[in-house]
């Protein structure tokens, strides 16, 4: 069903592009042959028609100029010889460009995590891997840092928030997975939550950081990880106290049960 609607809307857009691209007579035959080639390719169900990735990749270079907008998509499409109206392929506009960028960053991050954990010379693991992964991931934002506040606000629109959260949580999960976390209890959530807090605060710090090479940001990040360690130690101490209270409680129950003659050690 999904495939069907996808294909029909795709055809609709093809005709739409066809009308407008006829204005651009020089390109029209080349464009339409490319479009139909890619339609034939899309039958395997993997890519929805035209090479969207090509247009999105090319649009990224216009982000610093036009922001995460339809205008950037339009310029990107033109730069790879598609008519500007090809931005109609991205009905949600700027968020699709952001999504593409984030998927790409997360894929690169997984590659980085794999390299760091399997390299022969001192493979990273645990907390050190988490810290270096966050730094690596934030560095990917540097080329677009001027327009990143705009991306953050687009990501927070109600219609986009769920997808954005999902992408972010998968990224945090990937980092912890490679760091060797195999929790099967609530720690699974605590760990990812702490990482999310550290990442997001550092991201906010980074967009207003004017220091050379974002040195202040990396210092800030290091301090946040330091705080996390202190927090974990505190929590362990607190757990010790709770554990003690539990022992005390069960001893009290046993005593009461023995007093009322219900326990096993009554006389």
């Amino acid at each position: 069903m999904y495939m069907y609607t996808n294909m029909s809307s795709f055809r609709f857009r093809l005709s739409f592009i066809g009308i407008f691209s006829s204005v651009n007579i020089r390109n029209s035959s080349r464009v339409s042959s490319r479009l139909f080639c890619s339609e034939a390719k899309s039958n395997d169900g993997s890519s929805p028609g035209i090479d969207r990735k090509l247009i999105l990749d090319s649009s990224l270079q216009f982000v610093s100029q036009y922001g995460w907008s339809v205008k950037a998509l339009e310029s990107g499409a033109k730069a790879v010889d598609f008519p500007g109206v090809a931005h109609g392929l991205f009905p949600s506009g700027g968020i699709e460009l952001i999504e593409h960028f984030e998927f790409d960053c997360n894929a690169r991050l997984i590659k980085y995590l794999e390299d760091m954990t399997t390299r022969d010379n001192e493979p990273l693991k645990g907390g050190r891997l988490v810290q270096s992964a966050v730094e690596e991931r934030l560095q990917m934002l540097i080329p677009y840092i001027d327009k990143w506040p705009e991306a953050l606000s687009i990501k927070a629109y109600p219609s986009n928030a769920v997808g954005s959260l999902e992408r972010a949580s998968q990224m945090f999960d990937d980092i912890w997975y490679y760091a060797g976390d195999r929790s099967t209890d609530f720690n699974w959530y605590t760990k990812r939550g702490i990482l999310a807090a550290v990442y997001c605060t550092t991201e906010l710090y980074m967009i207003q950081d004017k220091s050379v090479n974002f040195q202040d940001t990396w210092d800030f990040l290091r301090r946040r990880f330091q705080d996390t360690r202190t927090f974990t130690e505190c929590r362990q101490q607190a757990e010790g106290i709770v554990g003690g209270a539990y022992e005390f409680g069960s001893a009290a129950i046993t005593t009461v049960m023995n007093l009322v003659g219900f326990g096993s050690r009554n006389r």
Partner: protein
């Protein structure tokens, strides 16, 4: 020889590090089963705290507890190996399971057995539903199918054991077991989703 070893190590690493995320249906099945076995373990912990030294019920409960521990270990391994997200309600099942176990055991040996019967009945049905779902899938997940079948057989065994040990003599048996079964179904519904 060294080369073979290095190859083996790198292959192992590949398997260990590049596990893709599971299919959503498999993710849900393993999450709820892990939560269920964890809850069962907590129920028996609670019962053992009260009935541990009971001459006739003690060994029976202990035997069932040992089996539940093995199930929990099995599903913990699956959660780790397959990158399944554990349910966020683990702390709740920790407390609720223990309270149910200890509470029912405090009402007496028969009530404890009635609790076991009600829980295992709900769990047995739930495992059967899952087996049906898994068998309807195109790619057969043999490991998971076998794990669930083994667990289900043990759970139904516990149900029989409970009935043999006078579960039906418990005070207000029908109401008691109906409440527990409804509770179990709610817990399953929640653990699949949260």
């Amino acid at each position: 020889m060294m080369k073979v070893r290095r190859l083996a190590v790198s292959l192992l690493r590949c398997r260990y590090y590049s596990t893709p995320r599971p299919h959503p249906a498999i993710d849900r099945i393993i999450r709820v089963d892990h939560a269920g076995e964890y809850g069962a373990d907590r129920i028996y912990t609670g019962q053992m705290a009260v009935l541990g030294t009971h001459p006739s019920a003690g060994p029976v409960v202990k035997h069932m507890w040992e089996q539940e521990k093995a199930h929990l270990e099995l599903f913990e391994r699956l959660v780790k190996e397959r990158r399944v997200r554990p349910t966020a309600l683990m702390p709740l099942w920790n407390i609720a399971g223990y309270a149910l176990g200890a509470g029912s055991a405090l009402l007496g040996k028969e009530a404890a057995m009635a609790c076991t019967v009600a829980v295992e009945q709900a769990i047995g049905e739930h495992y059967n539903d899952q087996l049906r779902e898994l068998l309807n899938r195109e790619e057969k997940d043999e490991e998971l199918l076998k794990s669930i079948k083994d667990c289900r057989d043990d759970e139904l065994d516990h149900l029989e054991t409970g009935l043999e040990h006078d579960a039906e003599q418990a005070p207000a048996y029908e109401i008691f077991s109906q409440i527990i079964r409804t509770g179990c179904k709610t817990a399953i519904w929640l653990s699949e989703r949260i």
